[in-house]
Subunit: 390 residues, 2 copies
């Protein structure tokens, strides 16, 4: 096997003929260091899978996930909670992968979501310290689902510890944020809340539509954290990955209580990214379908018009808290120019641009290929701003 | 990229044209879940490496390792101990990989060994709980180097905790045993000692030659553990991987104080494996060169004659403690028949044969492709025998 270096390629692609599928492959590999996958298990599962064959992909990951759920149950019955936990972590992400390419109307899609949530919840009491499923009060009595990953140790001198809220991207779910970043932050003594915001994951399933003015759900998350006895309300950061890069910037610009902002993959202008950069690509098709659902649009409605407010024109400049922006040069989903535009508009003095060069770890979209490395980078920057020795 | 399924292949090989190099690739990938490597970092480093090109392999991993050492130093200076630890863990294994295919006389070979040990020692105080470099009293004033990974939590009701000693294979080193198993055992409340025994790793560099009667160094390891106030001398297990599968069986057969024995990859008859099964292969050449060095042989001396005592004829039947044997069906270094012969000779009632079928995780030599899965299996079995709830 040689690693493809075809003309035009500037990063590792498992299937150079299908960039979007290769990205999903890396998204799985990036979670291994946090226990969210196993290289051998995944590479063997993918043995009969050709890129683009969603049925084969589903079969590979669903089979693995269900087997691990059963094995975890047996481990528990035999009195081996840590092995059960390890299996449930992997089952969580394999269930997520299994459902990824299924049509929304496919009943297996819902089954994958429910199985993913069940696996991750089953692992909660087996994790030290245990995390908890939470429901964040939102508008009109609705609640946003998520998880609180408590700080694993106290690493500062304050009576209350710092905290962070993490928002994922368009097709991300709160569960995977544990493997991408939550575990690393908790280890550093930062209480971490990962939630499915409006239009995301389980919130979308509850009928809670997406919105561009993310300061509203972000404030709900802030309020939830600030009310916890263990949390220092002056040290709460907002972190967003992928679409979350837009969301966290928007939140920090209009919710001044956040002490720091991490833009983990920038989106300066979503209609431009989706309507121009991704036009005609498998990724573009995937996200277009998803956005119509997120915004609960009628079939004939104009998606680009609905997405128009999703941009940082006049927004990024309002951010007053320390801000970290990270972007990979080989990002094939949100071009590097989005990061440059976003950073150019930042006015806060304490701003940092972490650029991951082509052909290096982290060069892909949101550093999913090297989540451990990105998590270390985020934690280093955040711990400094939140005054914690992590 | 398709995953090779050439005729005769019964497991994933990164380079199907070179089984031994593919094995070293998997040996790296298997350490990712314990933090001993990063998929993206390694796959990108290997971009220009053709199987068999030892110089390119050295350059890829040495470059990575030295960069990580420097980055770890900067992380420490900036007050980020956990990121420094993560980088040092990976540097440890990348230094090991860098030196793997170098000739012994190459000065870079020694440099890789020293760098590996330095990286791993630097990570010790950054690990919770900190591990310590130890020196085990051996014969004639010599000492065997290793590490004590203390139990991360007390998970049983005893005043003293159980313990295990791990021996690696012919070309293994104590440092990598942390990533393969030590970390997992420590998390389960088992104090774990990983040492370079006679003829292994740093002990060999000190001029301590190999020996077949492994009960001698194993007793030294047992004595060291039994003297620790935190260790219950009635609950000390011996674990051996690869050649260690022979070593742990031999130790358990003639050192009755061990409470349990794990044969992590069996070798029933080493001269048969090396002289017949591996004859004419890259692996055979590698191990033949290494064994002449391990036994400190003159160039004209007969290696097979010197290796003759390395077999379990009349030995395995003497093991009186509970014994676990694990072997992959697709093992290309020690054939599956070695495991069958070993297991057939066991007479102890509490004996378990864990067989990893072809094309499943763990099917390769010593499950290096799926170390997390193997570690969970070992821990489940051991915790039961050592009466700890892990």
């Amino acid at each position: 096997m040689t690693i493809a270096t075809a003309t035009g390629l500037d990063h590792f692609e498992f299937w150079p003929e299908n960039s979007f599928w290769s990205f999903q492959f890396l998204r799985m590999m990036g979670k291994i260091p946090a226990g969210g996958g196993d290289f051998s298990e995944m590479i063997l599962a993918l043995r009969g899978v050709a890129p683009g064959d969603g049925e084969a992909w589903y079969g590979a990951f669903a089979g693995l996930a269900h087997r691990l759920d059963q094995e975890a149950q047996r481990s528990l019955e035999r009195g081996n909670p840590l092995s059960a936990r390890d299996k449930l972590y992997r089952a969580t992400n394999y269930h997520q992968a299994a459902g990824f390419f299924l049509a929304d109307a496919d009943p297996r899609h819902s089954a994958c979501i429910e199985a993913r949530r069940a696996s991750f919840r089953s692992a909660a009491p087996l994790t030290e310290p245990a995390y908890t499923a939470v429901e964040i009060p939102y508008e009109d009595g609705a609640r946003l689902p998520g998880y609180l990953f408590p700080a694993a140790s106290v690493r500062d001198s304050g009576a209350r510890q710092p905290a962070a809220v993490i928002f994922g991207g368009t097709d991300a779910v709160a569960e995977e944020m544990y493997f991408f970043l939550g575990k690393a932050l908790a280890e550093r003594g930062v209480h971490t809340l990962a939630i499915d915001g409006p239009g995301q994951g389980e919130a979308l399933r509850r009928g809670i539509a997406g919105r561009y003015d993310w300061e509203v759900p972000a404030a709900a998350a802030y309020d939830f954290l600030a009310r916890l006895e263990s949390v220092d309300p002056r040290r709460i950061a907002v972190v967003g990955q992928s679409l979350g890069g837009y969301l966290s910037a928007r939140a920090a610009a209009f919710e001044p209580r956040f002490a720091a902002c991490v833009i983990w993959g920038a989106i300066y202008d979503l209609p431009h990214v989706l309507g121009v950069e991704l036009a005609g690509t498998p990724a573009g098709e995937h996200f277009t379908t998803l956005w119509r659902k997120i915004l609960r649009m009628e079939p004939e409605a104009d998606l680009m018009a609905a997405l128009a407010p999703y941009n940082l024109h006049g927004v990024a400049e309002k951010i007053a808290c320390p801000t970290l922006l990270m972007h990979g040069e080989s990002d094939r989903i949100t071009p590097f120019a989005e990061a440059e535009k976003t950073f150019a508009d930042l006015t806060v003095e304490d701003r940092t641009f972490l650029r991951y060069p082509a052909w290096t770890s982290g060069c892909t979209h949101c550093q999913v290929d090297a989540a451990l490395i990105a998590a270390d980078d985020i934690c280093d920057w955040l711990c400094d701003r939140l005054a914690v020795a992590g």
